[in-house]
């Protein structure tokens, strides 16, 4: 493992240099993606302008939720999304074999040889929106709330990376797993709204097997002092535990799938 970690900076440097070969396209993509999120948020803002609030959440609270959602997702996804979305193709073409013959952890190799700096556009937008929202919402910021907020963010990023890892790992056994990302993004879209507006079965789903409720709603609701359905007083603790728990499960699943890797067959 120590050798794996020592390789990380070298892998990242190689990948960044590769991306910089096409820096024009990368900058354009940063801008296009940020613009697209900004447009969606504008539409949501306009909806709130007309209706006043959504499930009791005002626009500035929604802005905090949206920015948290985007930031936590981008941090986790830069470690995982493209890497594990493309694993299906790596299995099919056999390029994954070339990773498995290296004396380093294949997870570390895959994640850091593709550490996606393409999320910079997301992150800039999310940080900007968050900076505005934290001053607008009615929260008495203290060291403790700030610490909770940051820890919740990291935990949420861990949830993202762990789920992506699990979906990607599935391709090692099933060959195909890309379709599972469609399901992920279905729930991911819900995760940017207050959980209390959804029917109870969906709330249960979002806090258990599709734990994207922890991606933004739970930590932001705790920070804002708003009630969290189902979890109640446990919300703060569970939101901090969700990340490490997801990572543990993800690691076990990854290990299991690597053990049962079948290649593309033949």
């Amino acid at each position: 493992m120590s050798r794996s970690l020592a390789v990380v900076p070298h892998l990242v440097r190689m990948y960044v240099r590769t991306r910089l070969e096409y820096r024009g396209a990368m900058l354009l993509a940063w801008f296009a993606q940020a613009l697209s999120y900004a447009a969606t948020y504008t539409a949501i803002a306009l909806l709130l302008l007309r209706f006043g609030n959504l499930g009791g959440w005002t626009w500035s609270e929604m802005a905090l939720l949206l920015s948290f959602h985007l930031l936590a997702y981008s941090l986790g996804a830069s470690l995982s999304f493209t890497q594990f979305r493309d694993i299906e193709e790596k299995v099919r073409l056999g390029t994954l074999d070339a990773v498995l013959i290296k004396p380093v952890s294949p997870w570390v190799y895959l994640v850091f040889s593709g550490l996606n700096i393409g999320y910079a556009g997301h992150i800039i937008l999310a940080v900007g929106l968050m900076a505005w929202a934290v001053t607008e919402v009615a929260v008495d910021w203290s060291i403790l709330t700030a610490l909770y907020f940051v820890a919740g963010l990291l935990s949420a990023a861990m949830v993202t990376a762990a789920i992506m890892t699990m979906i990607g790992a599935t391709a090692l056994v099933w060959v195909r797993s890309k379709h599972l990302f469609s399901i992920f993004f279905g729930f991911w879209e819900l995760a940017r709204y207050p959980l209390n507006i959804f029917p109870v079965p969906l709330q249960i789903l979002m806090l258990t097997i599709a734990p994207l409720g922890f991606l933004a709603f739970v930590p932001v609701a705790v920070t804002l002092g708003r009630p969290v359905p189902l979890l109640g007083d446990w919300a703060a603790l569970t939101s901090l535990l969700a990340g490490p728990l997801a990572v543990t499960l993800g690691a076990l699943h990854w290990r299991h799938c690597i053990q049962n890797y079948q290649g593309a067959g033949g």
């Binding site: 801008f31 900004a38 539409a43 499930g55 279905g186 029917p199 969906l202």
Partner: protein, 265 residues
């Protein structure tokens, strides 16, 4: 190539999708989750009000289904098809074949769309209809007029996707263009927020841009929110936009083709 062979492309595209059964189930499930989410969001927004701006909640549920899964279909497949073909020069292969590339694209992607309708939209609509309830068209006239609006909507989105795909020929990346188009769609097409909930100046402006014909107008016509005169008038404007955009695509295609031939692919 005989015109009769184009429907065959559509059928092939339709059939090719059956192979990816997991993709079908997952997409249907993803769409189902997202439509129920939109219904929940609208229910929360209405917060018990009988109507807002003259629109009832059941009307909004129907609007959400029409404007989302049905009218705002998965256009990125078209965009990448065109984008990759022109960027890599593979399109030259099509120029060698005795077929009309735009017609080929149109028939192939109508096959994909038909598949998505049958496998995803119809089941999702049935589930929503039985659980939450969907409204019939406001009148026979509006019901019938929905079809030409639907055709215009489909073609405008198809043309816009082709347009962005073709731009990849000069920008060398289709990825950013997909996101630009997504940005435009989420604000201007009415897929997330219908124009009647917007402040008047914005609603007026967006109402004249071609994007509103993708989700907003067809759904509004179905719900009877446009009177007979306005329905005909806006169909005319939609057709005008369709003509303008088609001309733009054909001009761009001619330019790209010229460059391809001059450069030898």
């Amino acid at each position: 190539m005989r015109a009769a062979s184009y429907p065959a492309f559509a059928l092939t595209a339709f059939q090719s999708r059956l192979v990816y059964r997991n993709q079908v189930w997952a997409s249907a499930f993803g769409d189902l989750v997202s439509i129920f989410a939109r219904i929940a969001i609208l229910t929360a927004a209405f917060a018990g009000a009988a109507q807002v701006d003259g629109i009832t909640l059941p009307e909004m549920v129907t609007y959400a289904l029409l404007s989302g899964p049905l009218l705002y279909w998965e256009y990125s497949r078209v965009l990448y098809d065109v984008g990759d073909a022109v960027r890599t020069g593979d399109v030259a292969v099509f120029l060698l074949k005795p077929l009309h590339y735009p017609s080929y694209l149109l028939s192939t992607h109508s096959g994909h769309f038909a598949f998505e309708c049958v496998a995803i939209v119809v089941p999702v609509a049935l589930i929503v209809g039985f659980t939450v309830g969907l409204l019939p068209p406001a009148s026979l006239f509006h019901g019938l007029m929905f079809f030409p609006y639907w055709a215009v909507s489909w073609l405008i989105l198809f043309i816009l996707a082709c347009l962005c795909g073709l731009l990849a020929f000069w920008l060398l990346t289709a990825f950013s263009l997909e996101w630009f188009l997504m940005a435009i769609m989420s604000l201007f097409s009415g897929a997330i927020i219908p124009l009647w909930f917007l402040p008047t100046p914005l609603a007026t402006l967006f109402g004249y841009l071609p994007f509103a014909w993708i989700s907003y107008y067809p759904a509004a016509v179905y719900l009877g929110k446009l009177d007979v005169t306005a329905t005909w008038l806006h169909l005319g404007i939609g057709l005008f936009w369709l003509t303008v955009l088609s001309a733009a695509v054909l001009a761009l295609w001619a330019k790209a083709r010229h460059r391809l031939i001059v450069q030898g692919g």
